[in-house]
């Protein structure tokens, strides 16, 4: 099933399927790329950032960024 990264539930894991073109470079530095396995760790309230596990590292992403990443879960 496909869903946006910000729609993933706590603890849910998925593989990155699509990233909006203009965003790819921007998040490559934190290790997020197509084919990468991510795990949802935290969603902060009040439209705050989401925290995902990339490899061994937690990385926070703004909601507007997470909205542009399509996951296969």
């Amino acid at each position: 099933m496909q869903k946006k990264l910000n729609e993933m539930a706590y603890g849910e894991e998925g593989v990155v399927l699509k990233i909006e073109e203009d965003l790819r470079q921007k998040i490559a530095g934190v290790g997020i790329r197509i084919g990468k396995k991510l795990k949802m760790m935290t969603k902060e309230p009040l439209k705050g950032p989401v925290v995902v596990m990339v490899d061994e590292a937690k990385t926070s992403l703004g909601l507007s960024v997470a909205d542009k990443i399509i996951m296969e879960v």
């Binding site: 470079q25 921007k26 490559a28 530095g29 934190v30 290790g31 990339v54 490899d55 061994e56 590292a57």
Partner: protein, 174 residues
């Protein structure tokens, strides 16, 4: 000679800086602790070498103030040599910044820091193989105990810019 310490936030650049210069700047277990740069000196190869502790950055496309400082520092020091500090336990994400720095033509030594933490997590890295692929020295280090730091320093003397195109070729193309 001028040396810049570059790497992601929270990989141990400041610990490295203190080890190299004998300074005592604040280290803490929070990313983003260094938001401005710190400068110090070490005596090596018969000269005083300027060492600059650059704020952590994930890439050379800055996303915030600290990253802007980092990228500006790099671009303002075209003749500098770089120690790229990579968290060995999170090596893949660190390679992106490293490749960007190599691509811009800077001579680089790679410090695979937190080697002990990587070993604890059962992460095995073939440093000689990585060195062969990248064409730059790759040294396993443990900043807090000082392991590998002198090896990094000794490599600084003779490093030259690596060829980014040749790395792509050794990896079998894009």
């Amino acid at each position: 000679m001028r040396v810049l310490l570059m790497g992601h936030p929270n990989v141990g650049k400041s610990v490295f800086f203190n080890r190299l210069t004998g300074a005592n700047i604040v280290e803490s277990n929070y990313p983003g602790t260094t938001v401005d740069y710190t400068k110090g000196y070490m005596r090596q190869f018969g000269e005083d070498i300027e060492v600059i502790d650059v704020p952590g950055t994930f890439s050379l496309n800055p996303k915030d103030k600290a990253e802007e400082v980092a990228v500006k520092m790099l671009h303002d020091n075209k003749d500098a040599k770089i120690i790229c500090v990579v968290d060995a336990s999170k090596i893949e994400r660190g390679l992106y910044l490293l490749l960007e720095i190599i691509e811009e033509g800077f001579p680089v030594v790679v410090a695979l820091n937190m080697w002990d933490a990587a070993t604890d997590k059962n992460i095995q890295i073939d440093a000689p193989k990585l060195e062969q692929i990248l064409g730059v020295p790759v040294v396993p280090t443990v900043g807090i105990s000082g392991e590998g730091i002198s090896a990094v320093v000794s490599k600084l003397k003779d490093i030259t810019p690596a060829n980014a195109g040749a790395i792509v070729e050794r990896m079998g193309g894009v």
